[in-house]
């Protein structure tokens, strides 16, 4: 059986040691606090792994991006401070709403899964007949049969099966976005512009490219090359060259405690 996991990513973090898959499970089951988790380290581990292999398998990368983006979004909202006192109350509240909604969505399907299991247990005793037709009827069926399938389907299937996985052929992938190319793209922009708006530069790219760019940004952040800031939830993201000084709010910055300004006020 080919039951390998997609994200063969092993993590060694302060609050968690183990495979990425398990991390997500313990997060959803509330055994590890999202606020304690340094997502940049997770992204960095993934980036390292990608660099070692040198290839992005699109479906796997998409899965990782979707998961890490959801976690980033949740965590950033949990951590988001605001200059305004009223909004300061609202920010974490909304973040909690979002996290609760996600956890409730999971619970809903966990319970639906239980119901599916119950139906399966109740029904699996019923067996269906799978006997060949008596020969008299078989002849009728053959006589009346007309072409319904293209024979090429069979050649294509054999072609697929002949392809050894050791020689990966990426021609069937629609497209890939390499992390390395997004890193160079970001560095190139930062060289010319010490501060720029994410949407202005990358807003016209497709979602996958934008997502990989965010991953690349995380990498630059951990390496101390770039800072990024966001004044309000879902507002524009400003990226600045780390040498040019940080923005007001470091979203996604590991360990950054979100209430500094409130305390100061």
């Amino acid at each position: 059986m080919s039951s390998r996991l997609d994200l063969d990513l092993y993590l060694d973090l302060e609050v968690f040691v183990g495979p990425f898959d398990l991390l997500l499970t313990v997060l959803l089951r509330e055994e590890v606090d999202l606020l304690e988790l340094e997502l940049a380290e997770v992204a960095a581990a993934y980036v390292t792994k990608l660099e070692e292999s040198g290839e992005i398998e699109l479906e796997v990368a998409t899965e990782f991006l979707v998961l890490i983006a959801a976690l980033l979004e949740l965590k950033s909202r949990l951590m988001l401070p605001s200059a305004d006192d009223e909004l300061a109350e609202l920010g974490p509240e909304e973040a909690v709403d979002e996290l609760v909604a996600r956890m409730l969505e999971y619970r809903r399907f966990r319970d639906a899964g239980q119901a599916v299991t119950d139906i399966f247990e109740q029904e699996r005793g019923h067996l269906y007949r799978s006997a060949p037709l008596p020969s008299a009827f078989r002849r009728v069926a053959v006589e009346n049969a007309t072409q319904a399938y293209r024979p090429e389907v069979l050649g294509e299937a054999i072609g697929r099966l002949l392809e050894p996985p050791a020689r990966p052929d990426l021609s069937h992938l629609k497209r890939t976005v390499s992390l390395r190319s997004r890193l160079s793209a970001l560095r190139a922009v930062l060289e010319g512009d010490s501060e720029f708006d994410f949407d202005e530069r990358f807003g016209r790219e497709d979602r996958l490219t934008q997502a990989v760019t965010i991953l690349a940004l995380l990498q630059l952040h951990t390496e101390g090359e770039a800072e990024w800031s966001q004044e309000e939830i879902c507002g524009p993201i400003t990226i600045s060259n780390a040498a040019a000084g940080p923005g007001k709010t470091a979203v996604g910055s590991p360990g950054y405690v979100a209430t500094t300004e409130r305390e100061a006020g």
Partner: protein, 193 residues
């Protein structure tokens, strides 16, 4: 009535011979009778098979009808046909199957987002068991899945609308309040100096 009995006889013979489920329209065409007449004959046969309580029952599955064996004969059947019992669904498979069944068509990243774990292994065992099947690709190249005809048969469903209403699994307001309080408490802990 003699003629009704004859129609129920023909219907039983057809369901016995046909591979897979047979729809009302197919039965009516083959019997040269109206769908209403055939529908009555199906009900008559269904009740008679229930009353005689023997080894064969009529099931309304996947938008049609099929004969199946009585579950009480399952063990003996597996001995005769040398077939091992189908393994139970694991929790991962059950959750994944529920997501596909309720949200179909649905992509694997979407399944992963809801379950919070990558779900390749659950998806591929469900594919192998024939309970779900591929139904194309998303814009981003991810495979999209839906449930199969076999799923409806194995789960004894007339159609997908026979699944329990998803709202039946809405968490209670207490669940929600409890979760929220725990999260707020965690957030407040973090904000203290």
């Amino acid at each position: 009535m003699e003629s009704d009995g004859a129609l129920a006889r023909t219907v039983e013979a057809l369901l016995f011979l046909a591979p897979g489920t047979v729809t009302l329209t197919e039965l009516a065409d083959a019997c040269d009778a109206s769908e209403a007449q055939v529908g009555e004959a199906v009900t008559e046969l269904e009740m008679e098979l229930r009353d005689r309580d023997r080894g064969v029952v009529l099931r309304r599955v996947g938008g049609g009808f099929a004969l199946a064996s009585d579950p009480r004969a399952e063990q003996a059947a597996r001995r005769l046909l040398a077939k091992p019992r189908t393994p139970p669904l694991t929790q991962a498979q059950a959750e994944t199957l529920a997501i596909v069944a309720y949200l179909q068509p649905v992509s694997r990243p979407e399944i992963a987002r809801i379950r919070g774990v990558s779900s390749e292994s659950a998806v591929s065992s469900l594919l192998e068991r024939g309970l779900i099947e591929e139904s194309g690709r998303s814009r981003f190249g991810a495979t999209i899945y839906r449930t199969s005809e076999l799923f409806e048969r194995v789960f004894g469903l007339e159609g997908l609308d026979q699944l329990p209403d998803l709202t039946a699994f809405d968490p209670t307001p207490e669940d929600e309040r409890e979760l929220r309080e725990r999260l707020v408490a965690a957030g407040e802990q973090r904000s203290e100096p």
